[in-house]
Amino acid sequence: MGTDSARASATDPDWDVLARVAAGEGDAFVHLMEHHQDRLLRLCERMLGDVEEARDATQEVFLKVYQKAGAARPQGQVYTWLYRIAVNHCLNKLRRRKLVRFLRWENPAEDADVAPFDPPDTAPDPAAALESRLRWQSTRRAIAALPDNQRAVLVLARFEGLSYKQIAEVLEISEGAVESRLFRAMRRIEGAQESDASRVSRKEVRR
């Protein structure tokens, strides 16, 4: 591990910070969190579709990081390791959410996965603000309707801007599998957009 560790530390100094976290240095943990918390919050929010749940999830992810810091093997970038823990944590939360819905005899329709959504208006023009909100809502519905493994790939590609190779590293799958999941996700989204469009046009005709 010595040579690998030295090489990884040379490419990403956060491995040294993580080693200090493992040694119990609180300042190092705060430094690591402050460096990565925004991207993990964003990732969890995209995956879970709920701001409050994303904050809880991010906190839980960092608690795991604190516990696992000593077991981490320096390889590649620290953020890839963090993303892996965060994505697995979010996938577990999504599975748990589905199970609880099933046990409560709730409709497992995709809309049930879309939390109430009221982001602040930032656009000065009300029409533009409304248009943005509609687009955001439609995106959230589209993401919520995806199977979990496709959701993870789409979020990492579209909203985190990761390459196929980086996504493959995070999810520990092949680049071919990334491509295939992304392809199926896009197919599904296109299908949903087409049915949305035809629903809107049917409403217009009825008026």
């Binding site: 795991k64 516990q67 995106t139």
Partner: protein, 150 residues
Amino acid sequence: MNRATEIELMRLLHGELPAEQAGALRAQIAREPELAAAWARLESTWSGLELPPAAPAPPAFAQRVLAQARRQPGLSWSAAPRWARATAAAALAAGLALGLGAGKLAGGARSSQDTDSALAVSAAGGGPSLAETYWDSLADLSDLDDGARQ
């Protein structure tokens, strides 16, 4: 349009094609209307996926998490031998299966006004249900497996 061509278009969209191949595909798109339509559709779907900026971290988030990390004891599962973890996981899974069965039986026996399962979150206390507790435990075990692979 076959799947291979659509995947090529996706690679182009995501900047995954080498420059030479990307140039050739762009030239082909310019020549072939069907390919151009598929490209336009793909670009529009991709760029239409938009979300608002994520909420920032709450103030002193890192310090609060650090305080919590120091309060809670280490996860004892990681120290447990593999056979012990496997046995515990099997017991939890069996309990979950029993819970599922009991939940469905209880739910089926009740009136249509009261559809919440006996195992679901209790309306009075709002605490986690038995099923949620089981699921948490299973999730923790699977997370440990993730950690072991790091």
